[in-house]
Amino acid sequence: MVAVKETVEQVKQLDVDQYKYGFTTDLEVDKAPKGLNEDIVRFISAKKGEPQWMLDWRLDAFRRWKTMDEPQWARVHYPKIDFNDSYYYAAPKKNAAPKTLDDVDPAILDTYKKLGIPLREQELLAGVQTSKVAVDAVFDSVSVVTTFKEELKKAGVIFCSISEAIKDHPELVKKYLGSVVPVTDNYYATLNCAVFTDGSFVYIPEGTRCPMELSTYFRINEKNTGQFERTLIIAEKGSYVSYLEGCTAPQRDENQLHAAVVELVALDDAEIKYSTVQNWYPGDAEGKGGIYNFVTKRGDCRGANSKISWTQVETGSAITWKYPSCILRGDNSRGEFYSIAVSNGYQQVDSGTKMIHLGKNTTSRIISKGISAGKSQNTYRGQVSAHRKATNARNFTNCDSLLIGETCGAHTVPYLESKNASAVFEHEATTSKISEDQLFYCRQRGLSAEEATALIVNGFVKDVLQQLPMEFAVEAQKLISISLEGSVG
């Protein structure tokens, strides 16, 4: 089956030519000298006013990074990156540390307004039901503002930039930073450890349900800079938090590097829901420019009955290299991964997940939808493994891909590793699994087989999208009408 017209048009709207967030903001910036060496690491640490232990941690990571090689296994091709040819720190000069929103450079506020990000803490309008979202806005290398801090404080929730957390809550940072993604985990994660500049920190105390959605909006603005953010979310026993991130960047001919690390820790009975709408600049129609997105995201279900759920809608970046993973350590813990990855133009996506079952009765579910068009390459790469002691581990994986046109590619590379006799893994990559009953029901009501299939599959994609909180889901909603008719494994 070939993709239906409606889907083709929807994807066209997401084409690289249609990138709406490609504007730049002219600002005076404070930059580190170009290049990457120990002095730059010291410079960043000094700029952030970090304690000695943090600087030592960074320097150790940097020295280790120098001995490592770039990974080659992903199905992405790009010219060798010259890590000395970019700036590792760029911060808007005016009002370096704004106390309130009024102190923030209006140009930056304008930028966020254009992007549609609510930075003002709007009061709830009478009679209008809108839910609140707290935002941490990260602009190039620094967090410019975090909203609703006070209100969150009342609930005991800590939501601030990681730089502030290092100063104000060193005991938490020391305990958890690098505990999910070790310093030497991989090439880009180690680089991030050395040069990360900002990011968000979330701490949900025991038994607390975070009163509002938390979100971080990342914007790369400066030329020639890389963005290295670090996010750390800790959900104490019995707590719940839903967090979402969005990202955009200006249209430029050069490739910019974004290497983030996200660590999630869920203790007993805690639940973390992490959603991403990734829309970095994907490069132009000839494949020039765009963000190299090399991201390490990992969640640790450390406690019993904990749950971590990743939802991602990926439409941007020239190259995506990203595997949000769950370590299911606690007994009865659960990991979920829902993904829609759309690639167009010359984009290259190599994304997926890892579900590492270590505890007893752990379950995981992977739903991945890849859509490739233009001359893009879209790869799902996922690993599911059951440790010897992971009795009764269960996994269900479903990954479908859709190709639009003859010049793109869609690839599936699952790894299933089981070392336990009671573990049950099921992997399927086909659309033929639509329930016969459902089909029959729809057809009885007069739908053709194709219409019925489209209806059922569409309903299913909506399920994935509905995992996203309503806020920020605008981009995602556009994808709703994409049908996965004609999917291949």
Binding site: R388, T412, E417, T430
Partner: protein, 416 residues
Amino acid sequence: MSNITPLKTEAEQALIAQGATVASDRKEAFARFLEHGLPHRRVEAYHYTDLRALLKSAPPPAKAGGKITTTSPLADIDAHVLTVVDGRYDASLSGALPKGASVSASSALADDGSNEKGLLSADPVIALNAAFSDSVLDITIAAKAEIEKPILIRLVTTGAHASYPRVRLNVGDHAKAFIVESHEGAAAGSLIDSVLELRMGDHVTFDHLRLNLVDHAATVLTTFGGAMGKESLYRGHNFVVGGSLSRHQIFFRFEGEQSKAEISSACLLNAKQHADTTLVVDHAVPECQSREFFAHVLDHESTGVFQGKIIVRPGAQQTDGKMMSRAIVLEDGATMNNKPELEIFADDVACGHGATVGALDEDLLFYLRARGLPKAEAEALMLQAFVGEALEKIEHDAIRDTLEAHTEQWLKARSA
């Protein structure tokens, strides 16, 4: 890749020492092996079968004159028998082939996988075979020939040495044949590194069974490269019981439209056996169909590996490819590693893969036990049905019966 140069393992050192004696025209192939040495887990294709760690030693190549002491597991089957002893064709132990089929042996230089247009792929195990193989067996099935009885190629290794058999099969247009590639014999410490190349013309119907019934302590590395023309049918079967360490590589390519390939495999492992099947099905042309079915039964501390890849090249529209891998893990010490892969460059195709790993169905087991079957018997019955799904695809009754009997024997040994 790490930039630290690792030390050579014992097996590598032995192979390097043996390499000094290879004939001058084989030096190039040997150099290709040396380039990377034995593959290890950082090499994606060998991620689950780390030869550097698993291959403890490399015995010297076998000398001529080995004596066969075992009988073929298919001795009762009415077939044309060809015998290859320690990698070398032995005409005295082989029967004549019927009209339309011919056989010859030579010491021609074999493909080491470096030729991109060849049937094989660049790989150190293939390069080793090309370097050490000194006898190539060529079998030709003429156009329009229909060989009724199966041709049984016995590849026997007679002792604790290395054998490097090489077989080339050429099948003409409109021909029909059934070939059995039977790996037999061997001993603890034996190393078998064999390569079979199969070229099929158009409108061919070809059945191919590969048997691995060698000694449980031997190492078996086998490669099969196949290509076929248009409107043909290829049915490949694998039955793996032997070898402490075995890896079977399949490189299959469609070169003509509207052809069909069915590849199935049954693999029964126990103790500390490690068996790997690595499969690449290359849909280079439109309108072809492929079906792959792999079944693994893993007992004790055994390890099963299945890496299957379907490639759909640009323009290979209307491709229909389905791959299924099922594994039953009987004990906590056993491991199954599955990697079913799809690589698709055409938009009008129907491709899918499925993979399952799990224990025997508790409900079914309960049902059988409720009917009075002891646990061991109930399990054996279910496993037999599970393996049977792969075996039933064999289109030769007597051979299928023999393999079913082998399965029963394996299951009996298990419950005993």
